[in-house]
Symmetry: C2
Subunit: 229 residues, 2 copies
Amino acid sequence: MKERVTKLDINTPILDLNDRLAAENRALCDEHGVFVLDLMASPGAGKTSTILATIDMLRDRYRIAVIEGDIASSVDADKIKAHGIPAVQINTGGACHLEAAMVRRALETLDLAELDLIILENVGNLVCPTEFDLGEDAKVMILSIPEGDDKALKYPHIFQISEAIILNKYDTISVFDFDEGAFDEAIARLNPKAPVFRMAATKPVAQDSGIAAWTAWLEERVKQKGIAQ
Amino acid sequence: MKERVTKLDINTPILDLNDRLAAENRALCDEHGVFVLDLMASPGAGKTSTILATIDMLRDRYRIAVIEGDIASSVDADKIKAHGIPAVQINTGGACHLEAAMVRRALETLDLAELDLIILENVGNLVCPTEFDLGEDAKVMILSIPEGDDKALKYPHIFQISEAIILNKYDTISVFDFDEGAFDEAIARLNPKAPVFRMAATKPVAQDSGIAAWTAWLEERVKQKGIAQ
């Protein structure tokens, strides 16, 4: 058990520094009237697809930018840029999560006066991103159907700290052994206030994809911050 | 960049301690003629299903135990025990990976003289488990089709350090937009020696599930260690 105690001792000053930088990020974005969403999920749950679908729904009304966090590559930022939206790629090297300092450097490359909404795509991970305040206004998570209904039991913290939960790849539910009753029960216990959006981010909005319900919620949150369309 | 340097400084002694304990775990398992497999993957990629399928294929010839690493719950260990195999559940609290010290405590609860093969199910994560030697004989990873072909580009390290790669949920490939050519190309570049097993861990072996090819490889590795059937 010795090394776990050591870890706690050394993480404390890092988290203190992170919290200070996160507060500064938050103040900076508040000042410019920018809403910041931190989107968290496992690798391959559909974070980038969800961001692309969200952009399509909201780009007429809000000026959007995306900050992409990945261990390596610029695959995701390239996809966002191809969509005609400013995107900053952060390569974390080995780090399994974004930190406030990384977000700060990305914010410095954006013209905040020309933005209303920034979406942070965190590194694919259900554990590490939960510990780090980035200065966001809301943390939202995605679970995808193929991952299984038991993930809320096995990774409870991320389900507890998310303001909303997207249940993505919902169109594939017939292919997988996903117990919706067990999932709903776990969410009702862990985070009863969180809305759950059943969604298929890669499907056209018209096909009852659930995208409109999700973006309506997000838009409401953006408005709560006093950001006009 | 300041806090990243701080992090490196403090992780070094932890990793040194981990490496020492991992070497001791390895010596202990060598002494008892036990092969140790560290199985890594994202949440929901099919680690537990793969372990259950592996048990079914090898339990007639080898005495098997499983050590389960999870943030919380004993869902997985319960499934393994229901299969009639000894299972030890490690709850890591917040930690996003197993460490050698945790594995040591689990090994101490098992009768190593009565075992040939121990499978460690690491915490669902493509990043953190790569940094920690647990004393295993082989690290193997699972990627599942729904996660997408670009994961090798985005999480290269885990693909590089794995001796073999299981491409699971292969039966669902028609449902997802998974570019096999791009995936194979990435593996050929990152880790050309690693065999890739296309598999459907939850499907019966008879249905060309790929399980037999995977367990034949594992059996070969166990035999290389001089462990008789």
